[in-house]
Amino acid sequence: MQIFPCPFCGPRNETEFHFAGELGKVRPATAEKIAAPDWATYLYAQRNEKGLVHEVWMHLTCSELFVMERDSVTMQVLDTRSLREDAQ
């Protein structure tokens, strides 16, 4: 089992966590007409990087979303931080 650090609860078992998506995807503003390729990019395109990745995760037991930086080859977690801090 791998231990992931939740920024709120501290180190917890990996099975308590859910991968939500890549960080930095911005939904197109629907006030304007969105071209099909732009919708496609938002809905389907993935950076899917090998190595350092920035992702949004949820700790299921406390329901908080947070940012995780990790290595997608070694699975080493490099940093986790609250999404709230990002928004501030």
Binding site: M1, Q2, T15, F19, A40, Y44, N48, K50, E55
Partner: protein
Amino acid sequence: MTRYSAFNLLREGLRGHTGWGKAWRSPAPKSSYDAVIVGAGGHGLATAYYLAKNHGLTNVAVLEKGWLGGGNTGRNTTVIRSNYFYPESAALYDLSVRLYENLSRELNYNVMFSQRGMVVTAHSEPDMEMAARQVNAMRLNGVDAEFLDRDQVRKLAPLLNYRADMRFPIHGGVLQPRAGTGRHDAVAWGYARAADALGVDIIQNCEVQDFIFEAGRCVGVHTSKGDIRAAVVGATVAGHSSVIAKMAGCGDLPITSYALQAFVSEPLKPVLDTVVLCPPFGTYVSQSDKGGLVIGGGLDRIPSYGQRGNLPVQETVLAGLVEMMPALASVKLLRHWAGIVDVTPDSSPIIGPSGVEGLYLNCGWGTGGFKAIPAGGYLFAHILATGTHHEISRPFDRNRFVTGHLIDEGAASGIAH
């Protein structure tokens, strides 16, 4: 190349097996080819073979960063089937099963395709209605399928758990009689040997590190063994498709790479002569000719390029196996491993132009591209040789994510992952 035959086997047996020769050459790369294929998995090797055989294109190289068949082709659980829902998928995967049916003869290499059938169990009355719908869809698409009640499943797979107090009791299932298993390495080796015999250069330990562009067109590759020019380049790199796309600058693909794990048990006396998948547990199993149980399950939940297993998934898959077939509870595992699979949002592959001129993609097979190797190679060769889609590959073009014409087999045929 010495042909494999009963006569040659006898002759070599008498000569101490000294006259067989190498199954393929190990040539140094030439400076240019009519077509270069990146990745010597099953899809890359089959593409090269069909380029030579169907299109007369023999000045072809397949470049492999490791050893041929060392990716997912040599790591999968070898289930071959065409029990899909949509007509587009049925056309694609059934072409593949039909090519598999004659493949050992065609390649003069025993790929051990054993059509032992595959049963997908149903565990409730709503499940049974979905199973009936699946059987009807398959038959309408011209694919063999049979709707089974509980007793019929029991006859085919007596090892399954038929206790009434089971968490998800078995009600019946769907059988595809023509489905089965093959020998994964033999598929790679058979295509490699046959392609080599037609003049294709297979170059191992040769990593593609970048592409060569001229006037916006891809005209070759930079490799760890030097530059190689090509009239056309095809990428068949499975879990590394996003890495290749980034190199080529053809935009982020609708692909996520995940580890998919598999398990093999110690060899047992014959206990199971069909492939069984129990969807509520997400576990499937078959028995190899050596006696080992070959066990697979769901995808890992976390994007990954780490080609190894981990404990949470192992626990889920094996707990499922023990619930499916309690008699196996004390069987020991022999090996456990993972491959990096390329998963698309609709669980269907991407075949066709990459968006960069001169470069084509064959990827996105995810957890189920071993069964598709003959068709993937056949269709991709057509695209590389003619520059246009084959009717069967057209719906699988990358542009379906823009037009919205997804072929959502993940939902339709309930692919577990």
